[in-house]
Symmetry: C2
């Protein structure tokens, strides 16, 4: 998948280093990243590392939102909050044309790092600050944005804010989502002061561009400095509720059991077999990330298990075939084991292809800056995939350290990677904002 | 294993119904069971059933202890609390001989029922009340008792109090055990006022007898009214800590994963295969009751899992062979998967055989009362197994409803079963207490 583009290296970290191209202020970018990471910071007990816990619409998220919104205002942007809590900052252009938008998210998973989402938002902010410093006026307006609950870690639906903005999820459905304690999105938006009055549907911009850490090992493994994202693979999430029979582990003969934990284990083993078989291509991925047996005690056969399935495939057809095999397997397994299996689809997105023109612009600037780069498909979902439905869209990936670990306090991109990514974002936005 | 003994039915529920044999007051027994169940009672949200949550040394356990201790005192018993919180009530005999002890426990698992343990303690109390009513003096003293933390559900070591009393576990080791929050057994005993002053080591009694619900489906399946327990099968508990690598489910190729959840699933599947293969006899049982993936999220490959293994076998040799197969499998699996597997033995007891003479006395009274009965091996551990190391010991099982479900609000024995069991306990204790 990865074709390495080699080119002469001409690193552009500061304005003037190469003479011509405009460049962001790397120190300012990084100090913003670290300042935002203070909000929701926590110390991982096992490792002593500092992570970020900024679940959507919590007090920590409110604090993060207020800080970033304050920075938007300080950068002279015209800030608006929409009805689903998405925050946009607008920098006027020379002409009254559709804007170019750059955005991402600032919410995190409970055990998150400081780059996921935040890097994209703060790099976009750094672009604005740089244009302000240099007195550059673009032809089109430039908008930077952060979207509500991209992670889906609290209310169960990822890309929530951008999906509402781009029309996939109706506002009323988003409002009605609840967290584990039964609190709704609408109530939490109101509570933290981010239930805005602006139309939640965004007018199609000229283009949308998002910088993000890769959150995977591919770029680092290939020794690449930048990824030009071709699209997002198809994603299917299932929540399985397995109901068998509670039984005492010491007194219940094996033949009289209906062990929901064993059925979950068989599903996990089958998922791995499916994903590594080659039947669905070399890029099939399948994961059982959650397993919750009840009552979860050493000497009780679990009578009930909730577990999850995460399927990914770059091709919709292969995904559909994998889903069909899994469904048939679950039916057979349920019959054989006497354990009922209820399947709930908790997320489902088709493959998304990003705009070839935007990819070409990103690749052109990477090449000009002498950065090794290649096309890469995103394994994770991103706000950009929602915008791909309404406008030409592209994404820039920078590599992560430590095998690209993410959703973890160890998540890290080097300062060089962050700065490279932000510079390519800057030049891509400039080119798009000056386009007809 | 079960040989049904059929005999003419002559139910003895009340004194005088058959003329001769002494019988307990069934109504009083059951009202004590239900009164104790009020302490620690909780409503299961899913079913609306009322269960018992009386974890050892909690406030609920304290309340239960105080109520039962009060009943002991009201029955004229000389009550003593030992240094590990075991509570004994002594009824003097005509001669200064070693006593006969009848006991069980009143602590419960977090999702327990009202019969497990409590039935044995309260039936023993009912025996004393009956002897008081009838003015019966036994030759030997009779002691009734409840032992600390039989379940091991809070401090991780089951049969704790009886194991200390009978010398298997040193007092200092018991004191040092901690619950999940780090609180010690000793501190909790002191806090709830049950850190007694009496010697924790019990003088070997003439015999020990315990009535208990079966907690399994065997008696009910065979249509039997009573089980004469032959012993307790060998038990081995392991806690496995699996450490692989956290990874994003969307971005990490299958080949770069070290999935601790998948490894736990493979262990579970292998356990089932081992237990049903016949390699370790028809009575081998193996269960993975707990599985705790970290971070337990739909889109993260679990980097760490704690899970448990519960092995049971009626024969020590077969158990040892099963443990050896599992150990070899874990080593192979760890190599193959790149996931480290640390094994901690959390419980291990060899097969226990109960005294043939006590079994014969129990069976004789069951036969005389016209109760269908058979020898049965206990699948669960009980306080009686500790006493088997120091004196002739026996147990009486009564069947449970609903496939013998236990450790669950649905746990139930019929009033008839409870009364039958208590009557056989009464007559067995009388015979043993009058013996030389």
């Amino acid at each position: 998948m990865i074709a390495v583009t080699t080119s002469p290296r001409g690193r552009v970290l500061e304005v003037g280093a190469m003479g011509t191209p405009l460049a962001i202020n790397g120190e300012r970018l990084l100090s913003s990243v670290h300042a935002l990471a203070e909000l929701g910071a926590y110390v991982d007990e096992r490792t002593g590392l500092v992570g970020v816990n900024r679940l959507a619409l919590t007090d920590a998220d409110r604090a993060g939102r207020e800080r970033v919104k304050g920075w938007f205002e300080a950068a002279g942007l015209e800030v608006r909050v929409d009805r689903v809590g998405n925050v946009y900052g607008r920098r006027a252009g020379a002409e009254a044309l559709a804007p170019v938008i750059a955005g991402s998210h600032i919410d995190s998973v409970p055990t998150g790092g400081r780059y996921d989402g935040a890097l994209g938002v703060l790099a976009a902010l750094e672009v604005v600050r740089t244009l302000n410093d240099r007195g550059v006026t673009t032809r089109r307006p430039l908008e930077i944005a952060f979207f509500t609950d991209e992670e889906g870690a609290r209310f169960g639906t990822d890309m929530l804010g951008s999906a509402v903005a781009c029309g996939r999820i109706p506002l009323a459905d988003a409002y009605a989502l609840t967290d584990e304690t039964g609190v709704t999105v609408r109530d939490e938006l109101a509570r933290i002061g981010f239930l805005g009055e602006h139309d939640e549907r965004v007018s199609p911009p000229r283009a949308y561009v998002e910088l993000h850490i890769e959150q995977g090992p591919v770029l680092a493994d290939a020794g690449l400095e930048l990824g030009v994202v071709t699209g997002v693979q198809a994603i299917s999430w299932l929540e399985l509720t397995l109901v068998g029979k509670f039984a005492h582990a010491g007194t219940t003969p094996m033949t009289l059991r209906r062990d929901a934990g064993l059925v979950a284990a068989r599903v996990n083993v089958r998922l791995h077999e499916m994903a590594t078989s080659g039947r669905y291509g070399a890029q099939m991925r399948a994961t059982m990330g959650r397993v919750k047996p009840v009552p979860n005690r050493v000497n009780i056969v679990p009578g009930r298990v909730i577990c999850t399935v995460d399927l990914r495939n770059p091709e919709d057809d292969a995904m559909a075939a994998a889903e069909a095999e899994l469904t048939a397997f679950l039916e057979e397994l349920s019959k054989q084991s006497g354990v009922s299996i209820a399947v709930k689809q908790t997320a489902k997105t088709a493959r998304v292809r990003f705009d070839a023109g935007v990819q070409s612009i990103i690749a052109g600037h990477a090449r000009a800056a002498g950065l090794s780069h290649a096309p890469i498909q995103s394994g994770a979902g991103h706000d950009a995939q929602e915008f791909a439905a309404i406008c030409p869209t592209g994404m820039i990936f920078v590599p992560g350290e430590f095998d690209g670990i993410s959703h973890n306090p160890r998540e890290r991109s080097t300062p060089e990677s962050c700065i490279h990514g932000a510079n390519i974002l800057l030049r891509t936005l400039l080119e798009l904002a000056d386009a007809a």
